[in-house]
């Protein structure tokens, strides 16, 4: 699934990184400790976090993530948005907490493990 599709289905607002709307999502990860996210995310990750610091972009680039979703009404810092535009990694924002949004996306089959 592409970032563009989840943006449409869940009415997420894109605040930066438009170039990356066709990025392919392979699964999801929730985390606000960037050290943990660096260790556990993977190529194509859709990352749910409340951290808006510019380091999130470096982590996303390093791990070749598909997109970042800032949950719970959080917004990225301005320099974070600039980097997202440069790197083409979309930042989407959402008022829902991570648990609820991740649950909804999981039900679509994104990153769903075999039961």
């Amino acid at each position: 699934m592409q970032v563009r599709e989840i943006q449409d289905i869940f009415h997420l607002k894109m605040v930066a990184g438009k170039k990356g709307l066709d990025n392919e999502i392979t699964g999801g990860y929730c985390g606000d400790l960037l050290s943990d996210v660096m260790a556990n995310s993977f190529k194509g990750t859709l990352w749910f976090t409340i951290q808006g610091h510019q380091n999130i972009l470096a982590v996303a680039v390093l791990k070749e993530m598909a997109a970042i979703i800032l949950v719970n009404g959080r917004l990225p810092d301005d320099d974070t948005k600039a980097k997202a535009d440069d790197e083409g990694i979309p930042i989407l924002v959402c008022d829902l907490p991570a648990y609820q949004l991740a649950g909804q996306l999981y039900e679509t089959g994104i990153g769903k493990t075999a039961e």
Binding site: L33, L34, S35, H53, Q54, N55, A58, D77
Partner: protein, 243 residues
């Protein structure tokens, strides 16, 4: 030039998580027993006990006013100053960015004490909380006021800039990074990103009297002040951080 035995991260009874025995007077006495030359009082998001601690100082112990500020990313950064006025100016900025009220039964008492071991009052702000300031803003304001910025306990997973932000942001103008445990740092420093050019100090992060001076840093200085320390941290004019 001589070596100054320095412990630059000591909490007082103002920090909700610190022992109530950490009065300004008791901290000074314990520091002298431990042979320290320089200490910094760094309570969570507040500098209300620094003036009393400086007044309590004796026998040549240099007590520096500081605070340990929690950024909006929930990384702890020390801001250490030359004068009480500088520290209180920083406190004004921090208080404008700090919400909430303390619940002593949950987080602990926040005692404002004088230099005679007496209680002057209680701080009712949520000092254990995070400010709405980013790490860049904290470091910038600290520098503008003439202070030193040191990232707290980067060798720990909680509330450290490496834990919260994964690596040291490239344009962050820290004066040093602090570790709590040199051997743990030795084992992890090769994996840490962005730390290569930063001097490392070792501090106790004391919350109990018995913690004070357990670990420390030797600073080679002409005099125990912030300007000399800044030179030592940048390795200039013969000043240095030693072992």
């Amino acid at each position: 030039m001589r070596a100054f035995k320095s412990d630059l991260h000591i909490h007082s009874c103002l920090s909700p998580c610190a022992d109530l025995d950490m009065s300004p007077k008791a901290i000074v006495e314990r520091s002298l027993e431990q042979g320290l030359d320089i200490i910094a009082i760094c309570d969570h998001n507040s500098a209300e006990n620094v003036a009393a601690s400086i007044r309590a100082a004796k026998h040549g112990l240099r007590v520096l006013p500081g605070m340990e500020i929690c950024s909006k990313e929930e990384a702890h950064v020390l801001a250490i100053f030359e004068t009480v006025e500088q520290a209180l100016s920083m406190q004004d900025i921090v208080y404008k960015h700090l919400k909430g009220t303390n619940r002593p039964e949950v987080f602990g008492d926040q005692v404002v004490a004088n230099e005679f071991d007496e209680v002057d009052g209680f701080n009712d702000r949520l000092l254990i909380g995070a400010t709405s300031m980013g790490v860049e803003e904290i470091v910038k304001e600290t520098g503008r006021l003439g202070g030193l910025s040191i990232a707290s306990h980067v060798d720990r997973p909680s509330f450290s800039i490496l834990g919260q932000l994964g690596f040291i942001p490239t344009d962050l103008e820290l004066d040093a990074i602090e570790v709590s445990d040199s051997s743990r740092w030795e084992a992890m420093r090769h994996e840490a990103i962005g730390v290569e050019k930063l001097p490392v100090v070792t501090s106790s992060d004391a919350h109990f009297l018995s913690d004070i001076g357990k670990v420390y840093t030797l600073l080679f200085l002409e005099a125990p002040n912030i300007e000399e320390m800044r030179m030592a941290l940048s390795g200039k004019f013969g000043r240095k951080v030693g072992n």
